[in-house]
Symmetry: C2
Subunit: 272 residues, 2 copies
């Protein structure tokens, strides 16, 4: 199974617009139905629970999952659906908000580095250090020379992490502009979700094309062998969950983790 | 004044053994007496107080001072003498001890990154991330392939810091093996300092040559334009203090810091 290529993005010629926002193909390139995908997702999640327990027990591997998306792209939903069933003791989620004054007084990777996973853990970045080449670029928050230099810093940072034992998966949840419109409208029309609505989201929507370009460049520049980007067609949530859970499962399976050997002398002991 | 070259170390041909451990020359290459040096040190420290206040007020620049030395090399004394008079609100010192289990569960730069200075501050590393290519190498704590890769990670990390606004000075306090012998003996003979003595220091002394090689390589590999190493002849403490305070003073002066402009409309106000 070529998990290594499925939904993988990057390279100089990569175009975000070439990736469909509505997914329909499985890992072998065959059409997959919603029912089939949901069945596999359920299986994946069960397997992920085992793998995460093994990871925690072995205390060697660590997994960093970077989640990026346009507003309403489904980051929160993906976290709930794919990681919600895992033991929270081994899974940490960090949401990157607008930087605090203390964070701004340091280099842009300072806050990201603090939340990288320790051995035995899965760390999810809900947004990430990539905001510093996305929103920061779209709104000219730092000069071009500075955000351009950051691609290199990001590659180096992620190389450091992987060289020292972290596995990195980066997901961009890819939705269409129409899908965003519907989701924003749904939030406006639903009193139980209206609290989640920020007027700023409507302003950001006007920068759609700028964001798409910024994503495209970020993925081109930073999708590496050790820290690949996957663009996940996310207009349909069942497909998104299927794709993400499949990729994470296969990545963890490929780590060949083992339970640590028991202490000597435990064999044959009968507790009295 | 060529501060840029004085005591500067690095380059492929750099040999630590070529640097004297007993200093006698000033920044212009002229012989300097103890009295002259002490007078200049006092002046430097007064000037450093002003510069540090200016740095704090401007809130743009940040200075990272890395201090490395063989045991008894004088790191604690240097911190007391050179930085002791500065306002502690703008100066932070972090001592790198044996890594905790939490620190070991992350990449080797994780703990260093957390303690990098925010804008307006001077941060001193008493030992540093360089221990991961020094003690770790001498005692084979990680395989050679791993510590060799760390030179690159250190260069990248320090480039990130300087690109994003940190000034870095790295000092190796250079003493002779004989001087170490005397200092260790003095600790053993002085009841008020015996508490500071660790038997491990005598064990480490047996690895003197290995440590010198490890320092030599670290300095060769990581002395860059943006993050230079200075090897400070430190057998004589007055010379060490003179050299360090001179280098820090001139580095800060070259930053051309300015007090921020006052709020509009404050001119001519008379408080009644």
């Amino acid at each position: 199974m070529k998990t290594s290529e499925w939904l993988r993005a990057g390279g100089k010629k990569f175009k975000l617009a070439d990736v469909p926002t509505s997914g329909s193909l499985d890992i072998k390139g065959k059409k997959i139905s919603r029912e089939e995908a949901e069945a596999i997702t359920a299986e994946n999640i069960e397997k992920l629970q085992e793998l995460q327990f093994l990871m925690y027990a072995e205390h060697k591997q660590k997994l960093l999952v970077v989640l990026q998306a346009m507003d309403t792209g489904g980051k929160d939903g993906a976290i709930r659906k794919v990681f919600g069933a895992l033991n929270p003791q081994g899974v940490r989620i960090h949401s990157f908000k607008r930087p605090t004054p203390t964070e701004l007084a340091h280099d842009f990777l300072w806050r990201a580095h603090q939340h990288t996973p320790p051995s035995g853990h899965i760390q999810i970045f809900n947004r990430s250090h990539y905001e510093d080449v996305l929103v920061v670029r779209v709104h000219d928050i730092v000069p071009k020379s500075k955000w351009k230099a950051r691609y290199d810093h990001i590659r180096n940072f992620e190389k450091l992490l992987t060289d020292e034992g972290t596995t990195i998966l980066k997901f961009m949840l890819h939705i269409s502009k129409d899908e965003q419109k519907e989701r924003l409208q749904a939030r406006l029309d639903d009193k139980t979700r209206l609290w989640k609505f920020e007027k700023g989201d409507l302003v950001e929507r006007r920068y759609w094309d700028d964001y798409q370009s910024a994503y495209e460049d970020a993925i081109r520049e930073t999708s590496t062998e050790n820290a690949p980007w996957y663009v996940i067609p996310s207009d349909r949530k069942w497909y998104r969950n299927y794709a993400m859970s499949t990729l994470i499962r296969h990545t963890l399976e490929n780590l060949n983790m083992q339970f640590p050997p028991p202490e000597d002398g435990l064999e044959g002991i009968v507790v009295e």
